[in-house]
């Protein structure tokens, strides 16, 4: 049977199942196949904090959404065109997100009376007309997988577990994905158990062949490669990019990277990744607690390493006192906060941007630090290098605010040329700087206001530093009122005068009167919303802050040149508060804290409303 092939410009697929069904892996593989084809991609995993929540229940549903297109895209997509539901819970948990007309592929084997009852279905939605508005494809995924593996030497349990590969095979056929990378992946993954390689490959092929032969799937789709800048790409998550950025910062500075970390969702993957890169001289220490993690990082910085600590909001709270010590010691330190929904334990696997106040102000005394935020998964690489650059050049703690949305999400990344990365080399102090041959640990570089970094082991520069207030230049303990006033102001000036690039405004029509200002991970949804408005003939300008402390020198001027400024944030208005206080601009906040990223559609609707009154 010859199947019809239809061209699409973009597709959003959501794979959903029980947290033990392997949906993250299925989504990852589909993404990788799609990347090989040259589509632009953006992904969003969504999973419960419980490793194995009770099977078949709504809290146990894990999903992975992938958006791919023949043009450059900015978000993982608002609403799926296709839902793969491995059980009734996955259907129920995700149905509300589906637009009418969407395709739903359901694993009918799991629609048993017991599983339906677990999620409160009185009767099967497959048997009544509750799914009438959708295109439902009932597929006996489990039993067909088991049937396809009847000749294989695997247990029934292992055969059933391969059903995610059947689903992947089917979807790969539907969207004409190249599957060689998946076959290679399975060979690697199950290298120790060849029978599982054979079983999973067979399941994948059975799914592919099922699509080709069944009449239920009459149409096959194609999405042409996107026009992207030439070069070599890989698909990368924010946490992976951030880790590589830290390795790159080590190479470009010539310093060993020392990571002190305590396991915490959603930052642990950075610890896992960096622990693999010992050949670069990277030392990772899983500390006894968050405080020890940052303490060890600071101790390593004191000894001449690039000290880094990675955590999430609760960890930053615990590290606060040590960060203040680093402010007083004026040593380099990178603190990565992969934000999650708070307060307290909050929703550890859900995203939020509510640690901005914590980063800017969350310390005792006047303790300013530099703060930066990446805007997308791949941007985490460059943001990590920028954080290291500021920390090393200006001898200061730098807080890098990522969040779960970009940390777990992925996108294609144009691999940078290593030689083009910033040169981060630093000079340690090597000889006395005082006129009488003494060493003055707090004599500053007039340009950067940085003090000398004199590492232990350097003869003649033995000195003592500490948390007590220090006299200017000598660093001796000082309780002198005028000196304290001077030192507090100098520490503030040290941060405030760090040169950061001007903020750029994207206003292709050139006549916008409304500016949308964002920071961090909201870049994608805001950008997509602005594009949508422009396609409909409405003018809107977008500006995005990477440096939150200090802020770009031209920011006030930019803000004041628009009639209206809107600031969407996944918090209750923390940046808006800063902007209003600092620049006396009547910025409007648009805030949501649902643990999910903004959709482009909701921002577009909101901005359209605002535009009516501009």
């Amino acid at each position: 049977m010859t199947k019809q092939i239809r061209q699409l410009d973009r597709v959003v697929i959501r794979f959903a199942g029980d947290s033990g069904d392997g949906m993250q892996l299925t989504g990852d593989r589909f993404t990788s196949e799609t990347a090989q084809l040259g589509n632009d991609i953006s992904t969003l995993p969504n999973f419960p904090a419980e490793i194995r929540a009770p099977a078949g229940t709504l809290p146990g549903v894990s999903s992975f959404q992938v958006h791919f297109a023949d043009y450059d895209i900015l978000t993982p997509g608002d609403a799926p065109n296709v839902l793969v539901a491995m059980n009734p819970a996955a259907l129920k948990a995700n149905l509300a997100d589906l637009p009418r007309g969407a395709d739903i592929i359901v694993n009918t084997d799991e629609f048993t009376r017991r599983n339906l009852a677990k999620v409160g279905y009185a009767s099967s939605p497959l048997d009544d007309d509750s799914l009438a508005g959708y295109v439902v494809h009932p597929v006996a995924l489990t039993s067909m997988t088991v049937g396809a593996l009847a000749e294989q030497e695997v247990s029934k349990k292992d055969a059933e577990r391969a059903k995610n590969m059947f689903a992947l095979g089917l979807l790969s056929w539907m969207y004409s994905r190249p599957y060689e990378s998946t076959l290679r992946f399975l060979e690697r993954k199950f290298a120790a158990r060849p029978e599982l390689v054979a079983a999973n490959v067979a399941a994948f092929k059975a799914g592919w062949n099922f699509g080709e032969t069944t009449e239920d799937f009459a149409v096959r789709y194609e999405v042409k490669p996107a026009k992207m800048q030439s070069g070599t790409y890989r698909n990368i998550t924010g946490n992976a990019a951030l880790s590589l950025g830290l390795v790159a910062a080590g190479v470009r500075s010539g310093l060993p990277v020392f990571l002190g970390a305590y396991p915490i969702t959603p930052a642990s993957d950075i610890l896992h990744e960096l622990s693999k890169h010992k050949k670069f001289g990277v030392i990772t220490m899983q500390a006894e607690d968050e405080i020890a993690a940052v303490g060890a990082a600071l101790g390593a910085s004191y000894g001449g390493s690039l000290g880094v600590t990675t955590t999430s909001g609760p960890g930053v709270a615990l590290k606060s006192e040590t960060i203040s010590l680093a402010v007083a010691l004026e040593l380099p330190l990178v603190i990565v906060d992969v934000q999650r929904a708070g307060p307290s334990t909050g929703m550890p696997t859900k995203t939020e941007q509510a640690d901005l106040n914590l980063a800017l102000y969350g310390r005792h005394g006047e303790a300013p630090v530099a703060v930066i935020a990446p805007k997308s998964p791949s941007d985490c690489f460059h943001a990590a290098i920028e954080a290291a650059r500021i920390a090393l050049t200006y001898r200061t703690p730098v807080i890098l605010l990522s969040d779960n949305y970009i940390a777990s999400g992925s996108e294609p990344w144009l691999l940078p040329d290593v030689a083009s990365l910033p040169d981060l080399r630093v000079e340690f102090a090597s000889e006395p700087n005082g006129s009488d041959g003494t060493f003055l640990p707090y004599l500053r570089d007039p340009e950067t206001l940085a003090r000398p970094w004199a590492v232990p082991g350097t003869p003649g520069l033995e000195h003592r530093i500490g948390g007590l207030e220090k006299a200017d230049k000598t660093g001796d303990i000082s309780y002198d009122p005028a000196n304290h006033d001077f030192m507090v102001r100098t520490r503030a000036a040290r941060i405030e005068t760090i040169p950061v690039p001007d903020i750029e405004v994207e206003d292709p029509d050139g006549d916008a009167r409304l500016l949308v200002l964002g920071w961090g991970s909201t870049y994608g949804p805001i950008g997509a919303a602005c594009r949508g408005l422009r396609q409909r003939g409405l003018s809107v300008a977008q500006a995005h802050l990477r440096h939150l402390a200090p802020m770009p020198a031209n920011l006030g001027e930019v803000l004041r040149s628009y009639d209206r400024v809107v600031i969407p944030e996944m918090n209750l208005g923390q940046l808006a508060h800063v902007i209003r206080a600092r620049y006396l601009v009547d910025a409007i906040g648009y805030n949501q804290v649902r643990g999910l990223p903004f959709t482009a559609a909701e921002l577009e609707t909101m901005l359209e409303e605002v535009l009516k009154n501009v």
Partner: protein
Amino acid sequence: MSEPVALKLTAKDFKSDQEVRWCPGCGDYAILAAVQQFMPELNIPRENIVFVSGIGCSSRFPYYMNTYGMHSIHGRAPAIATGLSVSRPDLSVWVVTGDGDALSIGGNHLIHALRRNVNLKILLFNNRIYGLTKGQYSPTSEVGKITKSTPVGSADAPFNPLSLALGAEATFVGRTIDSDRKHLQSVLRAAAEHQGSAFVEIYQNCNIFNDGAFETLKEPATRDDFLIRLEHGQPITFGKDGQFCVVHPPGGFGLEVRETAATPAEEIVVHDATVNDPAYAFALSRLPGLDLRNTPIGVFRNVDRPSYDGVVQEQVATAKAKVSDTPEQQLAALLATGDTWTIN
């Protein structure tokens, strides 16, 4: 290997230009002088020695040492020193702390540094009181201690610092006294020679808030009968005339003090600091009574175990030995790991 060049340093070389500001009569002066006098023995250049402290009276110590030094924050010195020591195995890193700093606010870091066997020399000045905050009871104060914060007596039982360190399986554990310079230096010497964590408790007198806390161990009239001077390889006997000894009663878990005259010589425990099972040193640490009678001083335990720093550095060295590319080449290869695709 050729003999290291003698540096010919003296105590004076280890005195910083800072005025020492402990209360007159504080036991810290004696410890500082003993450490400064001992340091030249190490024959380590001053620039390769680092003192890290937390908060408290004792933690002012680094300011007075003409080495590298960091006066950090309350309780965190072991954590900070761990990062320094692991990343800089060429340095000799010393931690100076007190009973409040190490055992109360910083208890967690202390036990984990000891468990990991980080190559740190940890000197705990125990005066059984909070001095810098003007006289509250500490985690080593005796039960019922009357202080500003416990006007009718403290209600909680104290830590025995050595028992705690041994519970964490510290590889080197010792105790000494501020006023006995010779003994103090002998314990420092053994600690400095040890590879891994060395934990040394120094009984230190706070003459302002807890004066005379260890007086019975110092008074010529009582000290010989109260102190057990441990010497590796020697039977444990003590008292002015050696009239007491330590035995391990059959059937019991611990050690007990007996009269030497009534004890067959073969029943007297011969001190062996290298016993791998920490239970022996733990039993020694339990000997003192509430009145400090039967207080052992000296090296309780001194065993070999790979240091955390050593293992970590070895892992890095092993990984590095496998590569011949420049770091830039390695980085380019790392960035291009996994499934990549090229667009022309």
